[in-house]
C-alpha cells in the first residue's frame, strides 16, 4: 500500500476550499505529490507537464466541463480518473463512466470514501504487474483455493466444478452478507436466469459436501430462508 503513496495526484475543482480539503485528506493519508488546478486549462497544463498518476476531477469547471477535460486528457494519457461531482443524476454518472472514468463520487462525500476509492483505483491500475490471483481462504480445517478451484482438506483435495466455482466466488465477494438466489443465478447463468433456483440448490448442496464437515448442518455456507445464501469465513487472506 505504501508504494501507492508516492503517486502523483491531481485535484481539479473550481472551489478552492474543496481543493484544500481534499489535499489535506490526501496528505494525512501519506500522499505528498499533490497538484491542484481550478480550471481545465491549468489542469491540462499540469497533466502534460507533471504527468500525474491519477486525477480527481470536478464536472463543473469555469472554462468547460470535466467530461471534455477527461476526453482531452485521454488523448495523451491513460491515467486513472475519478470524478467528484455535485451532479448526481444517473445520466452524468453514466456519461462520466462511459467516457472512461474509473469512478464517480457524488458530493457531498465522506473523505474516507474518497480515499478508499482512490486506493482501489490505484491498486487496480498500478498493481497490475502482479499476476491477478483469486483468493484462497480457510473454512474450518479446509482451505478453499478459488484460484485453482480446489478444496483442500486434511487428507485429500477435491476440485470445484465451473458452476460451483462461480457460486463460491460470488459468495466470497460478499462474505458475511446475504446474497439473494437471484443474484447468484445471475452470476452463474447470466441475466435470463429465471427458473434456475432449483438447479442452484443442487449446486449449493454439492458445494456443502465439499466444504462442510456435516453438509446437513452447514456452518459456513448458510441458507437464509426465502432470500438466499451467506458465506461465513473464519479467516481470509
Amino acid at each position: 500500500m505504501d508504494a501507492m503513496k508516492n503517486k502523483k495526484i491531481l485535484i481539479v475543482d473550481d472551489e478552492p476550499e474543496i481543493r484544500e480539503m481534499i489535499e489535506r485528506f490526501l496528505r494525512k493519508e501519506g500522499f505528498f505529490r499533490i497538484y491542484a488546478a481550478g480550471n481545465s486549462v491549468n489542469a491540462l497544463a499540469i497533466s502534460k507537464l507533471e504527468k500525474p498518476d491519477a486525477a480527481i476531477l470536478d464536472v463543473m469547471l469555469p472554462d468547460g466541463d470535466g467530461f471534455s477535460l477527461l476526453s482531452s486528457i485521454r488523448s495523451f494519457s491513460d491515467m486513472p480518473i475519478l470524478f467528484l461531482s455535485a451532479r448526481g443524476e444517473d445520466e452524468d454518472r453514466l456519461l462520466g463512466l462511459g467516457l472512461g472514468a474509473d469512478d464517480y463520487i457524488v458530493k457531498p462525500f465522506l473523505p474516507r470514501e474518497l480515499i478508499l476509492r482512490l486506493f482501489a483505483i490505484l491498486k487496480r491500475v498500478y498493481a497490475a504487474n502482479v499476476v491477478e490471483r483469486l483468493p484462497v481462504f480457510r473454512l474450518g480445517n479446509k482451505t478453499v483455493d478459488l484460484d485453482s478451484a480446489v478444496v483442500r482438506g486434511t487428507s485429500r483435495e477435491v476440485s470445484l466444478t465451473a458452476k460451483e466455482h462461480a457460486i463460491l466466488i460470488k459468495l466470497y465477494e460478499n462474505q458475511g452478507r446475504i446474497v439473494t438466489t437471484d443474484a447468484l443465478c445471475e452470476a452463474v447463468w447470466g441475466d435470463e436466469s429465471f427458473g434456475y433456483e432449483n438447479t442452484l440448490m443442487v449446486h449449493v448442496r454439492r458445494i456443502r459436501e465439499k466444504i462442510e464437515d456435516d453438509p446437513s448442518n452447514p456452518v459456513f455456507l448458510l441458507t437464509v430462508r426465502g432470500l438466499g445464501y451467506k458465506l461465513l469465513t473464519q479467516e481470509s487472506n
Partner: protein, 464 residues
Amino acid sequence: MDGVIRILRRFVGTTILVSLLLLLFNLVLLGSLIFKEHHKSPSPEAVVQQIAYGLDQRHGKYVLTHEAAQQLKTNRAWAMLLSPGGKVQWSERLPSEIPKSYDVTDVAKFSRYYLMDYPVFMWEHTDGLLVLGYPKSTYGKYQFDFLTEWLRSLPIRALLLLACNVALALLVSVLIGTRVIKGIRPLIQGIHALSNGDTVQLDTKGIFNDLSQSINSTSRMLQEKNEALKARDEARSNWIAGISHDIRTPLSMIMGYASELEEQPELSTEQRQHAAIIRRQGERLRSLVSDLNLVSMLEYEMQPLKLKTIRLSVLARQVVSDFLNNGLDERYQISIHITDESLSVRGDERLLYRAITNLMQNSISHNPDGCKIELKTEAAGSSFNLFVVSDNGKGIPRERLADVISLPYASGRIRSDLQSHGLGLPMVARIAKAHQGELILASDSEKGLKAVLKMPASLYLNEQ
C-alpha cells in the same frame, strides 16, 4: 357524432310537440272566438219550441204565455199558427205583407228557406204548424246534404289530416334541424377537441362565427396556459435542482471536516461526539437534498424512466437482503410472501427499489419499539401486480392517510412530527404514479399500516 343525432332528435320532437300544441290552441281559439256568437242567445229552434209550448187554446181563443211573448219581443220576431188547411189561425206581431193562407207548395218552399225574405223556423203544434219569423237579414239559412258514406268516414279523414300535419312538421323540422346541425357540428367537434387538450382552429364563417371565434381563442388561451405551466414546472424543477446542487459543496466541507475531527485522537471524547453529530446531520441533509431533487423531478415529470421488466420477487429479496446485510435491528422481523415468482412489472429498477426501501424504512422509523414487516407480491387481475408492504405497528389514523402521501408544506397538509422529513411516502406515491400505478395506503391506528404498490403488469417469460 352521437351527440349530433341526439340534438337532432330533441329538435324534431320539440318541433312536433309545438306544432300539435299550436293546432290544439287554434281549435280552442276557433271554438271560443268564432262560434261564440252562436250561443249568445237561445237559438231560433229553441225559441220556436218555447213559443209552441207557450201557445194554448183557452175558451176557443189562443193565448200566448207572458215569457213566450217577451221572447218574441226581444227577438223582434213574429209568429203565426197555420191550421192543417193552411189558414192562419193565430198570429202575433205579424207583418202586414205576410199572406193569411198557404197551400202545400208555399209551405214546402218557405219551410226550407225564407218566407218573403223573412228567415222562418217551424215547430209542430197540436193544432197545426207554428211558424216563427225573424226580422229580415238576421239569419242565413243554408241547406246541407251529405252522403252517409262521407259522414261515416269523416273521423278517419280528420285523422288523416292530422297525420299529414304531423308528417309535414316532421319533414320541416328535420330539414331545419339538419341545416342547424351542419353549422353546429364543427363547433361540437371543436369543443370535444378542446376537452382533449388539442389545438382547435375552426372556420369562422357561417351563422355561428362568433362561437367559433370564441372556441378558437379558448384553444389558443389553453395552449398558452399549458406552455406557461410547463415552463413554470421546468423552472421550478431546475430551481430545486440548482439549490440541491449548490448545497452539495458546502455540505462536502461540513461532512469532510466533521468526520476528520471525529477521528482526531487528541480531541476529547465529547468533542469527537459533537463532530460525529455534525457529520451525521450532514449525511441527513445529504439524503434530504437528493430526495428533494428526485421528488421534484418526479413531481414535474422530468425524471426519465429507464424501463425494463422487473420480477417483483427479485426486488423483494434484494431489498430485504440489503436491510439485513446493513444490520437491521432485531426488534424488526421481516418476512417475505411470494405467491408467484414470475409476477413482474415494467419499471425503473432503481426507482422501484427506492420505493420499496422507503416503504420498509417508513414502517421501521414509525415503530421504534419494533414490529413485524411483511413483503408480499400478488397479482390483481391480469393487468396489475401488487407489491404489498404491511406491518403490525402503530399505523396511521385513517383520516391522515391521504395527508401522508401529499408533499410536505403543500397547501392543506398538516405538518407532522411523525415523519423524519416527510418525503418518504410522497416519493413512493410519485414513483408509483410515474409508472402509471398507484400507492394505496390502508391503516387503522394500533393495527399497523398496509401499503400497496399497484403497478401495471408486464407480460413476462411465462414460457420458461
